[in-house]
């Protein structure tokens, strides 16, 4: 039986994060644009210092790289707290807890780590992730058309990518390229590509439902030195290591944080708002919506914590992490939707954060592996089917 009781140490960390979100971040948001995703630099610097003092900066970085050594269960609990503010889903705490490097970089060579991993940990560089293309994102092994051809010590890369968040501001990206067209998954390699490389071009910013846009990229005769091949040639997908799958668990819990806050707001409102002579909270139709909210939140939390617990104990957790992503994300979407219904007209307005979460949670069912792909992963495990079939 899994024990979900919170230890004193976990409680201390959660309380610190909660206080920062409620007492620092939420008041600042009152003066920001309802769709803002960054803080004024002076405020950000001030809060980063506070987080460093708490010992929680760069929470996602393993201890051997100087991180604070937060285990995956605690990290999942913290994720629920971090997102409990307007911008929380896609900009939890506006990044004042630091941005860990992409997990693939832990598999880099020492030279690559020096140039890319450490500067990200120090907050000097940022990265984008270049997998999806116009030809598709769910099944990249078949869809990737961007082509790399070896030329002496270099690779010459032509093609393009779509949906790359942050590529216009990033210093480099991890870009998946077809280096052997005769092979499927084994024909894809990952490259570290500096955005200043000649031939790299941001074609346009792609506007989506949330305020933070994505990009469309083109690569024309981009010459990349062999030293920038990440992992082995043809081993691009092998880089999707355990660390990366583990990160999916707190990512899923982030959606729950938003749902918890929406639910709290809806409960307060239901108690205050009177119609036909009684508070909404006295009506069974509303009570059932609130109960369904609670069920979705608890189900999502259990799914996330079970996945985190297995990962923490070193047991297989692929099925459970996909389930956590699916259950928490879809459940959070329903919670926000019901909460908006309880607020009536106010739920639709930009005076409240609900409409923003509603839009952003819709994206969550596509990004980081769409719901259908999570089901495909789970079905493979259930039926013992090899990946790629």
């Amino acid at each position: 039986m899994v024990d979900f009781r919170i230890s004193d140490e976990q409680k201390l960390i959660i309380d610190n994060v909660r206080r920062l979100i409620r007492e620092e971040i939420r008041p600042l948001e009152e003066d920001l644009d309802p769709d803002a995703f960054s803080l004024p630099p002076s405020e950000k610097d001030r809060l980063v210092s506070m987080v460093k003092e708490m010992g929680l900066y760069q929470m996602d970085v393993p201890t051997e790289y100087g991180g604070p050594g937060i285990d995956i269960v605690t990290r999942t609990l913290v994720a629920e707290e971090l997102s409990q503010h307007r911008a929380g889903l896609y900009a939890p705490a506006y990044g004042v807890f630091g941005h860990g490097p992409p997990g693939q970089l832990y598999n880099a060579t020492d030279e690559q780590k020096e140039k890319y991993l450490w500067p990200v940990i120090r907050g000097e560089k940022s990265a984008f992730f270049g997998l999806s293309e116009p030809s598709g994102g769910s099944d990249p092994a078949r869809a990737i058309k961007t082509r790399g051809i070896k030329d002496g010590d270099d690779w010459v890369i032509n093609g393009g990518k779509l949906w790359n968040s942050g590529a216009d501001t990033a210093d480099f990206g991890i870009v998946y390229v077809r280096t052997d067209p005769s092979k499927g998954r084994e024909g894809i390699s990952a490259f570290l590509i500096d955005t200043e490389t000649p031939g790299f071009r941001v074609e346009r910013l792609v506007q989506v439902l949330r305020a933070h846009y994505t990009t469309e990229l083109s690569f024309t005769d981009m010459r990349i030195p062999s030293q920038n091949l990440l992992g082995k040639e043809g081993g691009g997908f092998a880089l999707a290591n355990e660390y990366l799958s583990m990160q999916r668990i707190p990512y899923s819990a982030t959606g729950l944080g938003v749902a918890i806050l929406a639910h709290e707001m809806a409960m307060d409102w239901a108690k205050q708002r009177e119609t036909f002579g009684q508070p909404l909270a006295n009506r069974q139709a509303i009570q059932w919506m609130l109960v369904d909210n609670e069920i979705d939140i608890r189900t999502g939390r259990w799914a996330c914590l079970q996945a985190a617990d297995l990962a923490h104990r070193g047991e297989p957790f692929r099925f459970e992490s996909s389930m956590a992503k699916l259950v928490a994300t879809e459940g959070a979407g329903r919670v926000v939707d019901r909460s908006m219904q309880i607020f009536g007209g106010l739920g639709m307005s930009k005076d409240l954060p609900l409409e923003r979460w509603y839009r952003e949670l819709r994206i969550r069912r596509i990004g980081e592996g769409p719901s259908e792909v999570q089901r495909i992963v789970m079905a493979r495990d259930l039926l013992n089917i090899r990946s790629g079939s």
Partner: protein, 141 residues
């Protein structure tokens, strides 16, 4: 990428009621049709684009007694007060990212932001790079 609409002079021929009260983005130009400000009517703008445009041109026209300015909107920037002559806008519910897109495009083409945005106290998120310029580059439009 930039707003693809011709500049409209702000004068008495405008039927103010046709200016949308919706969220969106707008550009303000001087009498030579050079962009001096790229703005947005956000989820907090009391009268949407109409209000933001009224604020920019506030002391320049007779509004037939109409007032679409709210105390919460503050004062127009000095450069706008002195030089605003033309405007163009786009209704857009994703006004925030569209605003960043137009600022990014301008910044890439001209190597700097419009004068009004440089004067403005609103913090602009870190702008990215396209690594290429449009034919508007250097024309300031």
């Amino acid at each position: 990428m930039r707003i693809r609409k011709p500049w409209t002079p702000w004068d008495n021929s405008i039927d103010y009621k046709t200016l949308p009260g919706a969220m969106g983005v707008f550009e303000i130009a001087d009498s030579k049709q050079k962009t001096i400000y790229i703005g947005k009517a956000s989820g907090k703008s009391p009268f949407g684009l109409r209000g933001e445009l009224f604020l920019c041109f506030g002391d320049k026209s007779d509004f037939d007694g109409q007032n679409w300015i709210h105390p919460r909107m503050g004062q127009p920037l000095p450069v706008i007060r002195e030089h605003a002559a033309y405007f163009r806008y786009e209704v857009n519910h994703m006004y925030y990212s569209r605003w960043i897109e137009i600022l990014t495009r301008f910044n890439e083409d001209h190597g700097r932001l419009p004068t009004g945005n440089l004067e403005d106290s609103e913090v602009i998120p870190k702008l990215g790079r396209y690594h290429w310029k449009t034919k508007e580059s250097g024309t300031e439009n």
